[in-house]
């Protein structure tokens, strides 16, 4: 019995396989993620970080290899709504109020209106958006919109959260606040997180492990263990271990860049 939330075995992804200009986006990826891990994926642009995340979510299919989520085929896991996804943009529907946006996944599942709204209200409370239930997305700031998107991704109470550079579009201050917010949610819900980022600081602060990737073809260069104590807070950023891990990640990233040529 596979206890891992995600296990990828020898996964490769080639785009434009039949054409002349085929690109190998990912090659021989082996990665297993245990329950309640917080995994960041970092690497130079074009290293296939987002592709890796989309493969786990079955938004694209691998050219070869095997991907399992909660012990099932990735495809079955998607049909069972086993994961929630947060994109770089909030992707809130502008015609729905915040409450209706957050309860959308439950609506698609056929959950009764009263039940899904109760759940959505609870999640909005968790991301500190009480009082904004009846607002339209445009009435919220970028950070608030992304918090609503996180609440939506948790609506079906998934075991797995896939986050694709969720705070890339936010300013530094908002980003740090959002990092704290995500850690709080991670601790409260015991969810497993796969987090794509290109910020070293963000990766080190949040993760239990950091996957460093190289580009063309996308491969896993190294996996850095982050042995910082949990729960993390502002003091974490001042710890010696924090700087040590940050340096280690930076060195591996430099190697990844050289490797990519």
């Amino acid at each position: 019995m596979d206890q891992n939330v995600v296990s990828m075995t020898n996964v490769s992804k080639v785009f434009g396989e039949s054409s002349n200009n085929k690109t190998i986006a990912l090659q021989n990826i082996d990665l297993t993620i245990a329950p309640n891990e917080f995994i960041s994926i970092i690497g130079p642009s074009g290293c296939g970080k987002s592709t890796l995340l989309r493969l786990i979510g079955d938004l694209i299919t691998p050219s070869s290899g095997d991907i399992r989520v909660n012990g099932k085929q990735a495809h079955q896991a998607r049909l069972d709504q086993d994961y929630g996804m947060v994109f770089q943009a909030p992707v809130l529907f502008e015609w729905r109020r915040i409450l209706q946006n957050v309860s959308l996944p439950l609506e698609l599942r056929g959950v009764k209106k009263k039940d899904r709204e109760t759940q959505a209200r609870r999640l909005l409370g968790m991301v500190e958006l009480n009082g904004f239930e009846d607002h339209y997305p445009w009435q919220l700031s970028g950070g608030m919109q992304q918090r609503a998107a996180i609440a939506r991704s948790l609506a079906t109470q998934p075991q797995l959260l896939l986050m694709d550079e969720p705070f890339g579009a936010l300013d530094e201050m908002t980003r740090e606040r959002m990092n704290m917010e995500v850690l709080k949610i991670w601790e409260q819900t015991q969810v497993t997180v796969v987090f794509v980022t290109h910020s070293i600081a963000e990766a080190v602060f949040l993760s239990t492990r950091i996957v460093v990737m190289s580009a063309r073809p996308g491969r896993i260069m190294h996996i850095v263990d982050v042995d910082l104590p949990v729960p993390r807070d502002e003091q974490t950023r001042e710890m010696e271990t924090y700087f040590r891990v940050e340096t280690e990640v930076r060195e591996w990233l430099r190697k990844a860049e050289e490797y990519s040529g």
Binding site: G57, Q81, M85, F93, L108, W138, Q139, L140
Partner: protein, 258 residues
């Protein structure tokens, strides 16, 4: 005070134009059959008000009937083809080409098909005129969806039906309303102009041509005013419905932001 700021300038411009028109006609002694003065048109308007409302209502029914048929078919075809993008992609170039054809030129042919006195002939002309912008815009609205939103729906294993009703259709609503604004005005123009090619004596377009033929140009002008009022009325109704139906859209937003 806001009211004055908003409506004051256009109202003033309108009054100035009318006054200048009146003044020019009197000072230059322009013949009545070339350009009647606003006061003369106004008098003709009041004198013929009963007749004008009668013919106006007759043509309004044709325009509304055509608008209903054309937009229902246009939206219907767009929805049916949205399911099969290949079909709508194959159809679009023809629709865009057909949209640039002067459909009004078919009026004599339609009169021949359905009978010159039959209002249905005019309704069909209006329906064909309205069909293409309605269909083209609806297809655009259904297909120009944020790829990330589609990915989101996909990640939740939403069915095609759910994607259509919860994403594509709401996304298309602003496009549909833009099409309705165009179609509403086009429907009145289509109805009146198709009546120029012959029709019932109760029709607005027929009234305009007959009065002109008998050199009662002030009556034709008065009829044109009625046609304009109806056209503007259609447009205002669409705006009103739009405000109620899509209050979330960016065009409806007030200036206050968080």
């Amino acid at each position: 005070m806001n009211w004055v700021k908003k409506y004051g300038p256009p109202l003033l411009l309108f009054i100035a134009t009318i006054a200048l028109w009146e003044l020019m006609v009197r000072m230059l002694d322009i013949q009545k059959f070339l350009l009647p003065a606003p006061s003369v048109i106004g008098a003709a308007f009041i004198e013929n008000l009963d007749r004008l409302t009668y013919v106006g209502w007759f043509t309004t029914k044709e325009a509304l009937g055509g608008l209903a048929i054309g937009s229902t078919l246009g939206i219907g075809v767009a929805l049916a083809t949205a399911r099969w993008t290949i079909v709508s992609e194959a159809l679009m170039p023809f629709a865009i080409a057909a949209n640039s054809v002067p459909i009004i030129a078919f009026a004599p042919i339609f009169n021949n098909w359905f009978g010159i006195d039959n209002p249905f002939a005019k309704m069909m002309i209006v329906a064909v005129i309205v069909f293409f912008p309605m269909m083209i815009n609806t297809v655009r609205g259904l297909t120009l969806v944020d790829p990330a939103a589609l990915e989101l729906m996909h990640s939740y294993a939403a069915t095609d039906y759910q994607v259509l009703w919860k994403l594509r259709l709401p996304n298309a609503l602003p496009y549909i309303f833009s099409a309705f604004k165009v179609a509403a005005t086009l429907s009145m123009i289509g109805a009146v102009v198709s009546e120029f090619f012959g029709g019932s004596r109760s029709a607005l377009g027929v009234f305009i041509t007959q009065e002109a033929a008998q050199f009662r140009f002030q009556n034709s002008w008065a009829a044109i005013i009625i046609a304009s009022i109806i056209g503007i009325g259609f447009y205002m109704v669409v705006i009103l419905v739009e405000r109620i139906a899509i209050p979330w859209h960016s065009s409806m937003r007030g200036p206050t932001h968080h």
